[in-house]
Amino acid sequence: MARLIPRPNPLSASKALVSGSGTVSAPGPIKLVTRGQPITASSGTAANATDSDYSSVWTASGLPATITLNVSAFRSSIVPDGSGFTPFMLSINDIFTGYLSGAGNFSDYTIQVSTASAGGAPPTSGTTVVTVTGNIYAAKAHLIDLTGINWVIISITSSSASFQFDGFDCSNSGNVAHTAVKAGHLLIGDSIDAFSLALDPQGLPGSPLSIGDQVKAILGGPYTPPTQMAGIPGWGINSAFSWLAAQGSSTYFENAVAQTPFGNIDLLLGTNNATENVGYSLTYSGLVAMKDICVTYDKRLIIHNVPWGFATNLVNGRAGVDQALIDICTNFPGRVIAGADRHTYYFNNQVFVGPDGVHFTGDGNAAHRELISSVIAIYGAGA
């Protein structure tokens, strides 16, 4: 017969306690860190590529040409994220038109990095980290690991035309540069959009700031998000969605989305797009396809609606387009976000619409620039 053995009462004590408090903070402001940094070139005025005046550009007397930036002053302020990723965002911009492809782009180029002494003479070569051939984009951005690097060298061996280069711009946030890249914007629209949003658009009143600088001015702080233009002359609904037709193994739209490191794709279907009267179904299905591509590449699609205008084709054709733009935002929250309400803005400011009822006036272009900048400012650093 088993005996029951009484167990002693266990000693008990209160459990130890951890007590603490802390804060979670969003990334710091995105700064344009390359502005005014030491730069040299094989010919021409290299400093034009890093000054604050986008109307002054660097051109070289011939090819091959190199431009070499000393990154030592700011490199140490770029903090790698947990994976050791230390990105460098480089924009090579067609500054005047804002077109996807146009004068000023480099067809073939390399980007090299060098650990040569920061205080010595600029190196003439380094380790190649980027090689591009057959580039069609007038604005490009690359991510470069700057760990231990003092110099970045761009070497251009083929250009589509006499190039104009003014975009040796690197942005990084206060703590993690990767965030600055994710907060960048690729702006896709028609010629009206491209012209008014270019780095240095011609014919606008005053001296327009770049979109990044305009966002900085709106927020009143050192916040200069990178932007990449991808305008298409005469882009209409049909031509916009022809971007979804296969081009090799991909599509123009997909290629444009895939090539940018930026996290935001701004779709600016313009007044041209509504004049073709293609209706709701084609517009909506095209937008869904664009949304799907953005999802594939982990991008956020921002929809800016069609500006108000009074051209007959625009008035008669826009209803289906407008509804499709509303529905794509409603049906895919989080992935598709409503941007600027350009219809209401230009309806309330009809003086900004030119005599053809489609294009903006000079002041209308400047207003458009401010409107889009204000939306980018609202979305902030990767929010």
Partner: protein
């Protein structure tokens, strides 16, 4: 009856635990791994070395804690745990994290890559 620790015993118990964070040689300091409930690490805040000061009436106060930066988040991910690890990255103890009413209260627990976590106060208490 419940056991009651003397102050000396409380201090000894408290110091014994927090001093475990200083053991190891892989890293210069122990750390706090702020993690999801899984747990999956979202940010690592390095502790001082020693991590905590000497216990007084059963309470040890942490030294300066370095800022941690969030990475590997699902953008967003939710911070739910704080794993206290020694210099060899071996867990010593863990506690809960929330916005309020928890062991460690943060201003927010929904975090994205690039967010930073700063700890403004931290104590370890061995009750009587």
């Amino acid at each position: 009856m419940a056991t009651t620790l003397t102050t000396a015993a409380r201090n000894a118990a408290c110091d014994a635990v927090v001093d475990l964070l200083d053991i190891g040689s892989t890293d210069a300091t122990g750390d706090i791994a702020f993690s999801t409930s899984a747990p999956a690490t979202l940010a690592t805040n390095n502790l001082a070395n020693p991590a905590f000061g000497s216990s007084s009436t059963g309470v040890a106060t942490a030294g300066t804690i370095a800022q941690g930066t969030v990475s590997g988040s699902s953008n967003p991910s939710t911070v739910a745990l704080a794993l206290f690890r020694n210099r060899n990255n071996v867990e010593v103890f863990r506690c809960a994290v929330a916005v309020s009413g928890s062991d460690i209260n943060l201003s927010g627990v929904s975090v994205n890559d690039g967010d930073t976590i700063d700890i403004t106060s931290l104590t370890y208490t061995q009750p009587a």
